[in-house]
Amino acid sequence: MVNNHIVPNGPKPKSIFTARNIMLYGTLFVVAIYYILPLYVMIVTSLKGMPEIRLGNIFAPPLEVTFQPWVKAWSTACTGLNCDGLSRGFWNSVQILIPSVVLSIIIASVNGYALVNWKFKGSEVFFAVLLFGAFIPYQVMIYPIVILLREMGLMGSLWGLVLVHTVFGMPILTLLFRNYFSSVPEELFKAARIDGAGFWGIYFRIMLPMAVPIFVVAMILQVTGIWNDFLFGVIYTKPDIYPMTVQLNNIVNSVQGVKEYNVNMAATLLTGLVPLVLYFVSGKLFVRGIAAGAVKG
């Protein structure tokens, strides 16, 4: 009876179960389930033993958790004559990935910078031709590239594949860097020229430090693209140096013996891990980089 005179303060609490909320969260929930369920099945299956899998209940959690399939997928699963699992493919992929990503980003960033700040006669045409490359289906160029690589003596080598990845990354990466650098005020470039910095001086001292977010974006695009590549890997290399994706395919699609679903699931998860980790680590920078350039300055 003491609190009789206190008038409620602040806005009235709103009901949670409005029609709008039910629609909104209902949709989100369904979509989330749609994407999470397969992942759940994969993880659960990869932790089961084969006898348990044969029971056929794919949604049931494992009765007995075992990491044996993971170990097998990584180190002893057989593809053809090699029985050292995905580990070989992993290291191959790393060896392909690092030079491809580094090379393509370095070249594309210099391209973008030069196209914006050091315009030359025909630079617009050059850029248009380069962009055109982004619209041609890869499949069209497979055979010509086979011939090119053969003539260069790079067919079936790691460096051949690195070259292919670098070249195919060029259109979209150059576009990305060009757009970013063209959002940098031109006067900054002029000021640096008056301060006596040259082409590389301006690139390294002025432009590069300002472009960190876009470098992260380019890196994520390239790492996921190259890591997930299957087509080029299977065509331009040979079995010893197959990237992880090709190796994964060979494990999953091998026809001899029993299909080991748990090993296949573990192998697939292992292959997808690298891009996933990258997203989690650099997600924030990624968003910032995508948004950068939208607002000038």
């Binding site: 006067e187 900054l188 000021a191 640096a192 020229r193 008056i194 006596g196 002025i206």
Partner: protein
């Protein structure tokens, strides 16, 4: 000796002529303002002088040296930009020293110069900060500092105050003028702001469509505009014009439909008075009211249509000879719409232009 000499400078993009055969001779220690509406080529000209744009024809000499094809950094110039253009990832000190390090100036010399410039511009306390942590005025000081540390004889300013608010702009304007007095260096300054041009310049070059219309002292530009464009462009509010006929006889007169002005004492250039169609321009500031009007002035009675009080003075709009006519009165004068006033001005100290060529006569 001339500090900056421009000979027949022409800039073309394909078939479009941006700058057309410009000639300019800027003396040592002179403060030259390039004034014009946007798109007139004033900033382009500055970029050409700086070496940031390659010119199509002509020559540029700075400090007696032909620098037409020299790199911007080798021309002995410092430049300040409208957007400050400070390197965002460097501290103020880094911004000031970037050019010196590129030029391989010895370390002690760099320290000495930075200290000196920081003292002149009073930015000592800001040296360790990044540009993002500075206000607009501070940023522009740093940008000026970056030009000063180069210790060159010619400074180029590209609308340096346009991004600042009105009060700060006025303050920095004074500072720039004092700085110029102190350094005695040549300054070429681009602006579209008449007040800046009038207050700062030793000489003003009024530009239009890539051509210098008039290159003269602020006074000359204001009182003896060389053509109708300059007359109209300079002055706020702009000049009042009457279209009519110049008749050179026993006494020289200028007559419109309704009005006749005696312009016998007008100072004609070169040719003297020749009868032709012409326009006569009266500055709003040249008009007197009330009892102070001298005998030889043109005088008439008008009725006030609109009053714009501006504090220090009052702008009065009226009709004269069928044309809109505005003039300035003392800010304390109490006039209101509908009032009858006697006004007068001296047609002989006006500006007259040939109606066809629009040149001064």
């Amino acid at each position: 000796m001339s500090s900056v000499l421009i000979k027949d400078l022409t800039l073309k993009y394909d078939h479009l002529t941006i700058l057309d055969k410009l000639n300019m001779d800027i003396a040592e220690g002179e403060f030259l303002v390039l004034l014009g509406a946007s798109g007139c080529g004033k900033s382009t000209l500055l970029n050409c002088i700086a070496g940031l744009l390659d010119i199509s024809e002509g020559e540029i000499h700075i400090n007696g040296e032909n620098v037409t094809w020299a790199e911007p950094s080798e021309r002995g110039i410092g430049m300040v930009f409208q957007s400050y253009a400070l390197y965002p990832q460097m501290t103020v000190e880094g911004n000031l020293t970037f050019g010196l390090k590129n030029a391989k100036v010895p370390k002690q010399e760099i320290v000495k110069r930075v200290a000196k410039v920081a003292e002149i511009l009073q930015i000592e306390s800001l040296l360790k900060r990044k540009p993002a942590a500075l206000s607009g005025g501070q940023r522009q000081r740093v940008a000026i500092g970056r030009a000063l540390v180069r210790e060159v004889k010619v400074f180029l300013f590209d609308e340096p105050l346009s991004n600042l608010d009105a009060k700060l702009r006025a303050d920095l304007r004074i500072e720039l003028k004092l700085l110029h007095k102190r350094l005695k260096s040549t300054i070429i300054y681009v602006t579209h702001d008449q007040v800046e041009a009038m207050t700062l310049a030793d000489r003003i070059a009024v530009m239009k469509n890539g051509v210098v219309q008039q290159l003269d002292t602020p006074n000359g530009i204001f009182h003896r505009p060389i053509n109708r464009f300059v007359a109209d462009f300079i002055g706020s509010p702009s000049m009042n014009f009457f279209e009519g006929e110049l008749v050179a006889g026993d006494s020289i007169t200028f007559s419109t439909k309704d009005l006749v002005f005696n312009v016998s004492n007008y100072e004609f250039i070169n040719t003297g008075a020749v009868s032709c169609k012409a326009s006569l321009g009266i500055r709003p500031e040249a008009v007197l009211t009330g009892e102070h009007i001298p005998e030889n002035f043109f005088r008439c009675e008008i009725s006030v249509e609109l009053v714009e009080p501006m504090g220090s003075d009052t702008l009065v709009w009226t009709k004269l000879g069928g044309e809109n006519f505005r003039f300035r009165m003392d800010g304390k004068a109490s006039v209101k719409t509908g009032d009858k006033l006697t006004i007068g001005f001296d047609p002989s100290s006006s500006s007259m232009f040939n109606a066809e060529t629009e040149d001064r006569i």
